[in-house]
């Protein structure tokens, strides 16, 4: 794949010195995403880790215009930007609404569902770090089974992660994809593709979080790879209802290679209270989801 690297836009849209944590998976993904979308883009975002990354007034490391809005507002805010630009005869700008899993799975679901149903012409990005990381690692509906959070400190999370992508897909949008910053070319190409499509496009980012998941900051890329290789994160795209695996997940589907989830779980402090029963449940959940995807890819 090295030749693909030359396809990447060389321009940087995030200058050094962002306020993201050391080893933040979001800062990697955001960097590649903006390279793919380029200058003529507007981002709207809620209170979140991304809001912190965007910087403290009056400085920002990000060279793409951004609007900060309240927590539940991301997709409605994108709708307003799209409507405003349309009213001013500006249809050349890519509008992106970008929120974390809390601002998407939980608080932002209503606005996202509304915007998708209205076929709003924008890209919605959910960066999923599996919890309310910006406020100190509280449980969200994206937190996986067995994870310790600051609001599940003793018993760990007792439920599986919400299969949010299915909810989004039920809106019959033209493009839906999953990405991981551990696979930047795959991520980049999906944003380039999404940019060319009209209507509501949804991109789900699997984002590693060193303080929230409790692993060393240097291991973010490794953790992202393990998520994909164990099937906890699956790289695919659904264009006009057609499902296809991409990148590493495609190879795994073809070769039938998939690592057990223990390889991923054992490297993160958040799973240190996980019992064998939960581990088996998590493995069974991943197996079932993976089989669903395999059937869809046929």
């Amino acid at each position: 794949m090295p030749e693909n690297l030359f396809k990447l836009n060389a321009k940087e849209y995030i200058l050094p010195g962002s306020r993201a944590c050391q080893g933040c998976g979001l800062s990697l993904a955001y960097r590649y995403m903006l390279k793919a979308l380029r200058e003529n883009t507007i981002v709207t975002l809620p209170a979140s880790c991304l809001c912190v990354l965007q910087g403290i007034y009056p400085s920002t490391p990000v060279m793409i215009p951004a609007l900060n809005n309240s927590f539940a507002s991301t997709a409605a805010s994108a709708s307003g930007i799209v409507a405003g630009l349309q009213a001013l005869n500006r249809s050349d700008i890519t509008v992106v609404g970008m929120a974390g899993d809390g601002g998407t799975f939980d608080m932002g679901i209503q606005a996202l569902s509304g915007a998708a149903e209205r076929e709003t012409d924008f890209i919605y990005v959910c960066y999923d770090n599996e919890g309310y990381m910006n406020t100190g690692t509280q449980r969200s509906s994206a937190t996986p089974l067995g994870a310790i959070t600051t609001t599940t400190p003793v018993l760990t999370k007792q439920q599986h992660k919400k299969d949010f992508i299915k909810i989004v897909e039920a809106h019959d949008i033209p493009y839906l994809a999953t990405v991981s910053p551990s696979y930047p070319i795959d991520l980049y190409e999906k944003f380039v593709r999404a940019k060319k499509i009209k209507g509501t496009r949804y991109i789900h980012m699997y984002i590693g979080c060193p303080p929230g998941w409790v692993y060393p900051p240097k291991d973010t890329v490794k953790m992202g790879r393990l998520a994909v290789e164990t099937g906890l994160a699956v790289l695919f795209e659904i264009e006009d209802g057609k499902f296809r695996f991409t990148g590493r997940s495609k190879t795994m589907a073809q070769k039938g290679t998939r690592l057990p989830v223990i390889n991923y779980v054992e490297k993160q402090g958040r799973f240190k209270k996980m019992n064998i029963e939960q581990l088996n449940q998590l493995q069974a959940w991943v197996d079932r989801k993976w089989d669903e995807y395999l059937r869809r890819a046929e």
Binding site: V52, V62, L67, S77, G80, G84
Partner: protein
């Protein structure tokens, strides 16, 4: 050419928004606002108004759409009532904090629980501290004119304006309305220029996190902290009075009608007793004043048109000669008294206005308030005061409190 038509308050508000050439409309239906949202969609789908209509899935999103569209430079409009306004509460603060000249109609209705669809003003009164200018209309002519005025005010001072009118009492009642000439409105209302535009041509990070203290930018210039920005919002509201008066005067010059600026007065020249309130209850009080005048009593009415910024100087002037002040309100600050009553008392602090002030809560959840009942209440207060009862607990008019 201006012409007169018979129309409801909702129709008047929609027509005002269309004449203001709004570019983005976002609305979610709620009684008694629904007709207003429907008329806007007829204008747009029928080609009478060139604008984007975002049929949002909630009031929170309605105001969010307006906030974002206003930030990219579009003139925006929305309307709501009651619990819809309460659901917007977070975004009301956001719109004012971001200094966006949004105009919204609040078709006043009581709030749940328990449910009522009928009129009072608890919805907008409970949004008093969100940083919005609040104007209360007394008839349908004032509604259409005030919507147009509101854009001019908002876009000069960069503060959102809530145009309030009573649900059903005005929203669903037909009255003759003189329609302002579209060409004249265009002159009266120049195109909207945002103070900060969200655009790829000038990339900025708008509404970011602020620290408590001031910080330098990359050029070494010390920039505002959170508190400086809050101070500027307060200063903008305080200075809005001048703009509201100027706008009403300019409107009078262009269209031949004025609505009093911050407040209006009725038969107050020699009035010893002044009745006051906001919106249609103040209008009803003028009929009460007429009844009492026939009985030989010197009664007048002051209608508070602008509740925020509070017209301190104006009420000091208007109530200067009052010997008795009677306040009728369709809302209450639970645990104390009506908000207008409190504000009037505080505005008179340190002045020579020492007239007793009696507060009445009336018409909650649509309970009828007739001019005769307001007149009786005024007479009761006058009797109390003559008997030396200067202070009196808030009276609940037409309410069984036994």
């Amino acid at each position: 050419m201006s012409k007169v038509q018979i129309m409801t308050g909702n129709q008047a508000a929609a027509l005002g928004a269309m004449l203001s050439n709004v570019q983005v409309v976002a609305a979610y239906p709620i009684t008694p606002q629904s007709q207003l949202a429907e008329i806007m969609s007829q204008y747009i789908e029928g080609g009478k108004l060139r604008a984007e209509y975002v049929r949002v899935e909630s009031e929170h999103s309605a105001l969010t759409v307006c906030i974002s569209a206003s930030t990219v430079g579009a003139r925006v409009f929305t309307a709501t009532s009651a619990n819809g306004l309460l659901y917007m509460h977070e975004q009301l603060h956001w719109a004012a904090g971001a200094r966006l000249p949004i105009v919204m109609c609040c078709v006043n209705r009581g709030v749940g629980a328990p449910w009522t669809i009928f009129n009072d003003q608890q919805d907008s009164l409970s949004q008093r501290d969100t940083g919005w200018i609040q104007i209360y209309c007394r008839n349908n002519q004032e509604i259409i004119d005030t919507v147009i005025q509101a854009y001019r005010i908002a876009e000069k001072v960069y503060v959102p304006v809530m145009v309030n009118f009573d649900g059903f009492v005005l929203s669903h009642t037909m009255m003759p309305v003189e329609i302002p000439d579209a060409g004249k409105v265009r002159t009266f209302l120049p195109p909207y220029r945002p103070h900060t535009i969200l655009s790829p041509e000038d990339p900025r990070n708008i509404n970011p996190v602020l620290f408590p203290w001031r910080r330098e930018n990359t050029e070494g210039v010390l920039c505002d902290g959170y508190m400086e920005m809050r101070y500027k919002l307060q200063a903008a509201l305080e200075n809005a009075r001048e703009q509201i008066l100027e706008t009403d005067a300019a409107f009078h010059e262009s269209f031949g009608r004025k609505h009093g600026g911050m407040l209006w007065e009725y038969r107050t020249e020699d009035a010893e007793v002044i009745l006051t309130g906001m919106g249609s209850i103040a209008s009803e009080a003028t009929a009460a004043a007429d009844i009492l005048r026939e009985e030989g009593l010197k009664i007048g009415v002051v209608g508070i048109r602008v509740f925020r910024p509070f017209p301190k100087e104006d009420v000091r002037q208007a109530f200067k000669k009052a010997q008795v002040i009677v306040v009728f309100e369709k809302a209450i600050s639970y645990g104390y008294e009506g908000g207008l009553c409190s504000d009037l008392k505080s505005a008179f602090y340190g002045t020579d206005i020492r007239a007793p002030i009696h507060g009445y809560v009336a018409g909650l959840g649509g309970r009828d308030v007739k001019a005769r009942e307001l007149a009786e209440a005024a007479k009761a207060s006058m009797a109390d005061m003559k008997a030396g009862q200067i202070e009196k607990n808030t009276t609940w008019l037409n309410c069984f409190t036994g």
